[in-house]
């Protein structure tokens, strides 16, 4: 290694908008398996990686490739985004670009003022930019090569209590962005911003205002402090040009008396035109919910045979304990069945998909046993669908809660407006599982019990190598046989996993990576095993 001066670099300065491999809309659509370009890796949110260097036959040789410790992090929820081997990760107010093969830092960005509100679920990439939401409710665009701040778009007033944990979704030249928190009586929306300038292009309000259809589903003025936020990234069908997004709970969460009616569009799946934000259809999973069962869980898009007919499906394992199959062109309800063994709040679904409620299972001042618990049968962590097995895999929790209610009054400024809450039912302690459901019937094909784990949070990925990767609250990252659920490999990351894993490939090597506690951990086969 010699040192000298005047390398004559100056003659060849990069133009401001130079030639780094830019992420195009075409790239996002194609979702080359070597990259992980969107929160779910693919617009259809199947989280199925076509990489198969790591497979059932050699996964036993998988080993940790590197660990990146995120300073001051704790229970990271970000899903890494990987472009040409460069990995972008985030925590509230911070974004890091890492070398995906070594975990070495390339740049980091610190957002100021650094309000402390978490989590942050990840970034989006488009062109030469990285996009992230912030605790003070901005959408921020950074230069993907240096982390330079390019612009900030104000989503809402942080003083009102809004913030932005959701990973943005890049569609064409737009950045789709949701908002939180509904539990504070703040009404939600879904926005689209110009990827180039940050200018807002449309906003769809999830709580209809007076004169708009659906406003009549809110008694009196209750629509004004109604919730319905959009805190988890949805999915997209490029052919239909439709964005699918799950909507959060109504407020106050546990007291339905002050907001009689179905409370549209809380706890709905909504289908919006990606260009205009116009509502195409909606399906409400839990009308007039009183258990805080946000319906934000990932909408997974699959084209499959349904009762002998090829259909464009949207499936979701809902926090309320039912697995739903919808027609994503029309929103028609096709099937629903519990994926939870202990479910006591409904006896089933009508043929339109409305829950047949058990009247007594509503929160009371003395407390009511409710299964699933408010924490939900599942939550933000991602499920996966493998076309190879035609199974839908969900990381979920069996367990009940005792739900209480009180009278609450809305206070502005981001104060909780929940009308009390819930505790774990000591007689039905929580237990997490990975369950494999038949795509169209929802029948449980196998389950993997995560012994000793009671807090969910670790999502799933399936791979063409015949594997499903899962995590648990004790820090184990585990490879399961996608057909049988048999564990084939595990690694103790040492910290609770509350994020969903990804896979990517650089220079011919497949990696799996997941945020575990305060670290990002990546795995690959040993040099020889990879051959």
């Amino acid at each position: 290694m010699n040192r000298r001066s005047a390398l004559k670099l100056l003659s060849s300065l990069p133009a401001a908008a130079a030639a780094q491999a830019e992420v195009t809309y075409d790239d996002l659509r194609k979702a080359d398996p070597k990259d992980w370009l969107t929160y779910q890796g693919n617009y259809n949110a199947q989280r199925h990686s076509l990489l198969k260097q790591v497979h059932t036959g050699n996964v036993a040789d998988l080993t940790a490739a590197w660990i990146y410790h995120v300073p001051n992090a704790n229970r990271l929820q970000c899903v890494p985004i990987v472009v040409d081997g460069v990995m972008y990760i985030s925590q509230p107010n911070e974004v890091y670009a890492l070398d995906g093969t070594t975990g070495r830092l390339i740049w980091s960005y610190n957002h100021e003022p650094a309000l402390q509100r978490g989590p942050n679920r990840g970034v989006a990439v488009y062109g030469n930019k990285v996009y992230v939401g912030t605790p003070d409710a901005y959408l921020v665009a950074l230069d993907a090569r240096t982390g330079s701040l390019l612009w900030k778009a104000k989503l809402a007033d942080a003083k009102d209590g809004y913030w932005a944990p959701v990973a943005p979704l890049a569609i064409k030249d737009k950045i789709i962005m949701g908002i939180a928190p509904g539990d504070h009586g703040l009404n939600g929306w879904l926005d689209a911003y110009s990827a180039e300038t940050g200018e807002r292009l449309w906003r769809w309000h999830s709580i209809p205002r007076p004169g708009e259809p659906g406003n009549e589903t809110w008694a009196g003025d209750s629509w004004k402090t109604a919730g319905g936020d959009t805190w988890l990234t949805g999915s997209y069908d490029p052919e239909l040009n439709v964005v699918y997004w799950g909507i959060g709970n109504p407020a106050p969460d546990f007291d339905g008396d002050v907001r009689k009616g179905d409370n549209l569009y809380t706890e709905c799946m909504v289908a919006l035109d990606a260009d205009t934000g116009k509502l195409k259809w909606y399906f409400q999973y839990t009308p007039h919910d009183v258990h805080d069962w946000d319906a934000v869980e990932v909408p997974v898009l699959v084209d499959a045979d349904f009762k002998g007919r090829k259909r464009k499906l949207l499936v979701q394992a809902n926090r309320n304990g039912f697995y739903y199959v919808l027609d994503r062109v029309t929103g028609e309800f096709l099937h629903g069945s519990p994926f939870l063994k202990r479910l006591n709040w409904a006896t089933g679904l009508t043929k339109e998909g409305r829950p047949i409620r058990v009247k007594e299972v509503i929160p009371t001042t003395q407390g009511t046993r409710t299964c699933p618990a408010t924490a939900g049968a599942t939550n933000w962590h991602s499920p996966t669908y493998s076309p190879d097995t035609n199974l839908f895999y969900v990381a979920m929790m069996e367990g009940c809660g005792i739900n209480y209610k009180s009278r609450d009054t809305f206070r502005p400024g981001g104060m909780p407006y929940m009308a009390t809450g819930y505790v774990e039912d000591p007689e039905a302690p929580w237990q997490t599982y990975v369950r494999a459901l038949d795509l169209t019937t929802g029948a449980i094909q196998w389950e993997y019990k995560q012994v000793g784990s009671k807090r969910y949070g670790a999502g799933l990925i399936s791979t063409a190598g015949g594997l499903v990767f899962a995590g648990d609250d004790q820090g184990f990252f585990t490879a399961l046989d996608a057909r049988t659920g048999k564990p084939l490999w595990h690694f103790n990351t040492g910290q609770q996993i509350t994020a969903s894993p990804v896979s990517y490939s650089v220079k011919g090597k497949q990696y799996l990576s997941v945020a575990a506690g305060s670290n990002i951990v990546a795995f690959a086969l040993h040099g020889r095993a990879a051959k």
Binding site: M1, N2, R3, R4, S5, A6, L7, L9, L10, S12, L13, P14, A15, A16, A18, A19, Q20, A21, D84, G85, V86, A97, D99, G100, T101, T102, R104, L105, I106, W107, S108, Y109, N110, E112, P113, D143, R145, T146, G147, S148, L149, L150, W151, V506
Partner: protein, 259 residues
């Protein structure tokens, strides 16, 4: 060059703080604190640098005063027996060390300064300000909140003793014979990460690299005292000394930088 500095910017570094108090604080500091915190709060193996660029745990007068007066229990930081008045002077001194350009931006024609930044100086070829510009040098959008006026001025006129991390110019020859030129973002025995002159990031294992040539000179030109008139230089610094991102609430002194 020293002279130019004194003529153009007398006492600006400490503008906010009474220079007499700062001088007394400095003397007190030098008597009892340097063995752990280094001269002018810059280094020390036994205590943290009190005024080097990083995020500070304590920055309010109150917090600094308490830390010095009472020490920090459970750590190597002893309490001081100095009278409270003297401790206050030390606090003023430490805060003056930490003062950045935006605390007291210098006078000058900022419009002319900006024109030099974009034109004659070609600064924007290498530096981004508010989302516009090059990527080979650090983003200067917040430089005034990160650096003192003195440091900005020296940045333009005095060659660096060493090239800051993230900006080392290199020529890398790969085993394949291909050659890359750019700056190192990071490196280690086993890998290096570089941004080439086309703005592309390269993630290289040392196995792939045949040769790395490190330039001894930063890409940042430091002959602006020769290339610009004193008036132009002053206007340029006046422009830079106002480049700070707006923040709600009190600014964190020397907020940590990305790279």
């Amino acid at each position: 060059m020293r002279l130019a500095w004194l003529v153009l910017f007398p006492l600006l570094a400490f503008a906010q703080h009474d220079p007499a108090v700062v001088a007394q604080g400095r003397e007190l500091y030098n008597r009892s604190c340097t063995q752990c915190h280094g001269a002018d709060g810059t280094v020390g193996d036994r205590g943290p640098a009190l005024a080097a660029r990083r995020r500070y745990i304590r920055s309010s007068e109150e917090d600094l005063f308490n830390a010095i007066k009472n020490g920090i229990p459970g750590t190597g930081m002893p309490g001081s027996a100095l009278p409270p008045d003297d401790v206050r002077k030390i606090v003023t001194y430490i805060r003056s060390l930490r003062a950045t350009a935006i605390d007291a931006p210098i006078e000058g024609n900022t419009a002319k300064g900006e024109a030099i930044f974009n034109g004659k100086g070609r600064c924007r070829d290498c530096h981004m300000v508010n989302g516009q510009g090059g990527i080979i040098g650090p983003d200067l959008s917040n430089i005034a909140a990160e650096r003192s006026i003195k440091a900005i001025h020296e940045g333009l006129t005095v060659p660096r003793p060493h090239i800051p991390t993230g900006f080392q110019p290199v020529r890398v020859v790969l085993q394949s014979g291909a050659e890359l030129r750019g700056i190192l973002k990071n490196e280690h025995n086993f890998s290096l990460q570089m941004l080439d002159m086309n703005g592309k990031l390269h993630l290289l294992s040392r196995d792939e690299v045949k040769e790395v040539e490190y330039d001894t000179q930063s890409l940042m030109p430091t002959n602006w005292a020769q290339r610009l008139t004193p008036e132009e230089l002053k206007d340029l610094v006046a422009f830079l000394s106002r480049q700070a991102r707006p923040v709600d609430g009190p600014r964190q002194p020397n907020a940590r930088r990305r790279r």
